[in-house]
């Protein structure tokens, strides 16, 4: 697949995903903003394995921006603009708190995992690929590692409350 085909497919998927989260109009805006970033700022990225994760990252940032913008505009709760904090170049305290809480939840959830899941998670954090983990764990089939990882990830997601956010 060339870059245009990938971007075309990405646009379709991004729009469908955004529509499932926000309204259709907002989804169209989000998709357009994301594609604009990919076109303007990353014209040289053409590999599928780079373009797709990049699109996910841009989309997430755009969705967070839209969420903040809606919050700032009082679309969720009608508050006066004077009560809102001033803009900061760094992460605002709300974002920092959200980040801290997510990390705490993740640490707590990881601590509740079983021994095998913890080992698997540790090796993944150490940067080992699945074939390397297969060797380390002494398994003959890599599908075993895939299955274990899937179960562990589901367990971790459950322990975190059903969402990574």
């Amino acid at each position: 697949m060339n870059r245009d085909q990938i971007l075309s497919a990405l646009r379709e998927r991004i729009l469908a995903f955004a529509t499932s989260r926000v309204s259709r109009d907002h989804a169209e805006d989000l998709t357009q903003d994301t594609m604009a970033v990919l076109h303007e700022k990353y014209p040289l990225v053409s590999e599928l394995t780079e373009l797709v994760p990049l699109a996910f990252q841009v989309l997430r940032y755009k969705m967070l921006d839209a969420h903040r913008k809606a919050l700032r505009r009082g679309e969720y709760n009608q508050e006066s603009v004077e009560g809102l904090p001033l803009a900061d170049t760094g992460d605002d305290p709300l974002t920092q708190l959200d980040q801290k809480q997510r990390v705490d939840r993740l640490l707590s959830a990881v601590a509740q995992l079983g021994e095998r899941c913890r080992e698997l998670f540790k090796w993944k954090l150490e940067g080992k690929s699945f074939p390397e983990i297969q060797t380390v764990m002494g398994q003959s089939s890599i599908n075993t590692i895939y299955t274990w990882d899937l179960r562990c990830r589901k367990q971790l997601l459950t322990l975190m409350g059903g969402s990574w956010d």
């Binding site: 998927r13 469908a16 394995t49 990390v103 021994e115 993944k124």
Partner: protein, 463 residues
């Protein structure tokens, strides 16, 4: 890799540990599958979180701390796996099944061996045999008093010895009163501790050989000398009736016909050989049968000779299809007044059997097997009960049991020749059924191992 399996790559996406090939597969599939795309988009939050080096380091520290505090052994890991648990459970189940099956099999074998013994309702707590009694009670003393004396005079140590004998033979062997009197008379110089009395009983073999002929006429109508309990309604104890003057009757004092019938061949051979080779030495040994079981007697290996087991027959008579008739005191056999008699036969080894019948007016003729079958004998399997109907009117029944097939030339003449019954050891055991009926079972064993044939005469008593 199927689309379903591509979901398994999601974990690698968040940790950014996918290989190039895995990434290519996953992202290509994500562009085709909206659900997978949504999932990847949701995983992006975790991916960002794990992409932060600070968060990654904290997570690694937490994981390493937990893994160091809870070290796992390979065995525990193996047991935690479902396959390991299944293996362990299967092995445990198989192990218990084998143990249980072995026990059940052993119990069934034991029960089969005891089935004959248990049906004779031998009292469980039989007292010591009368041969261990140091003093002989008066002959005319009531039976109950005799039992009391015997019970009270026997020391606990002797009771323990006697208990072993009773356990070994499962029934208490009691000699007739006359014999007990004679024993007490001949053993009177040996008023020693009770435990010595038991040894002397089998030890003084040479003395008793001289008196064995006098003991031989002891008839079958001896009353039991002792009973296992002091109750007046106690069932009669088994009576051992030495019908012949066997040269080795002293062995019979320790070995009853019943024990020889059921006994293992090696034990018997060893006992007999030891007794014949070193009578003086064995006289100093304990008279208990258990002590003769060893393969070494006096440090010398006992020689096992000839056939491994003495010929033995167990028989009982029943009238009218198994209805047991009441016991009569002076009854050596059984007589059915109404109809035929069932002769129940059991042998202790494989062999051939003939049953002859005779009356006062007719000569002996073959009753079993049926002469029309042109068979001279019928093969019997060891310890397989056989019931042979005998028509009424016979005064005497003769059983011929042989290890070898009967020769066609040997027929009636042998039966009528009145073969010597030397060496025969006979013991009758009476069963007390709950219904009040008694059944007498007789064991006949030929102590001579070289004898190929056993001849048993069963007189049918008159009412």
């Amino acid at each position: 890799m199927s689309e379903h399996d591509l979901n398994k790559l999601l974990g690698g996406f968040a940790a950014d540990t996918l290989t190039a090939e895995e990434k290519q597969q996953l992202y290509s599939a994500a562009l085709q599958d909206q659900e997978l795309f949504n999932t990847l988009a949701n995983e992006q939050a975790l991916k960002e979180l794990l992409a932060d080096p600070v968060v990654r380091r904290r997570l690694l520290q937490a994981l390493q701390k937990s893994s160091s505090t809870a070290p796992s052994s390979p065995w525990l890991d193996w047991f935690r796996r479902p396959a390991g648990l299944a293996w362990a459970g299967g092995l445990a189940a198989a192990f218990f099944a084998i143990i249980l099956g072995t026990r059940i099999y052993q119990d069934s074998v034991k029960e089969a061996g005891r089935s004959v013994a248990t049906e004779e309702a031998t009292p469980a707590a039989a007292p010591a045999p009368s041969v261990t009694k140091p003093t002989a009670p008066p002959i005319n003393e009531p039976r109950l008093n005799t039992q009391d004396n015997a019970t009270s005079s026997v020391s606990p140590k002797t009771n323990a010895l006697a208990g072993k004998m009773a356990k070994r033979e499962t029934t208490a062997m009691v000699i007739p009163e006359e014999r007990r009197v004679q024993n007490s008379a001949t053993d009177s110089p040996m008023q020693q501790p009770e435990q010595d009395g038991l040894r002397k009983q089998t030890g003084s073999t040479s003395d008793k050989r001289a008196t064995s002929n006098e003991e031989a006429p002891a008839s079958a109508d001896h009353r039991p000398a002792s009973a296992p309990s002091t109750s007046a309604v106690t069932p009669p104890a088994p009576t051992k009736v030495p019908t012949t003057a066997a040269p080795t009757s002293q062995v019979a004092s320790a070995l009853s016909a019943r024990s020889m019938f059921y006994g293992e061949s090696a034990e018997f051979d060893t006992a007999l050989t030891a007794e014949e080779q070193e009578p003086s030495q064995s006289a100093q040994q304990s008279g208990r049968f258990e002590q003769k079981k060893g393969a070494l007697v006096g440090g010398k290996p006992a020689k096992v000779i000839g056939f491994t087991k003495p010929l033995g027959i167990r028989y009982s008579l029943k009238a009218d299809g198994g209805i047991e008739r009441p016991r009569r005191e002076k009854d050596a056999g059984a007589k059915n007044q109404a109809g035929s008699i069932d002769l129940l036969i059991d042998v202790n080894q494989d062999g051939y059997l003939q049953v002859w019948g005779g009356t006062e007016h007719l000569q002996y003729h073959l009753l079993f097997p049926i002469p029309e079958d042109d068979q001279l004998s019928s093969r019997l399997i060891a310890h397989q009960h056989r019931t042979i109907p005998v028509a009424a009117g016979y005064g005497t029944i003769i059983l011929r049991f042989s290890r070898i097939l009967f020769d066609s030339s040997i027929k009636q003449a042998i039966v009528l020749s009145g073969r010597s019954s030397l060496g025969l050891l006979q013991e009758s055991v009476t069963t007390n059924e709950a219904s009040g009926f008694h059944e007498r079972t007789t064991y006949v064993v030929n102590q001579d191992l070289s004898v190929q044939e056993l001849l048993v005469r069963i007189p049918i008593g008159k009412p």
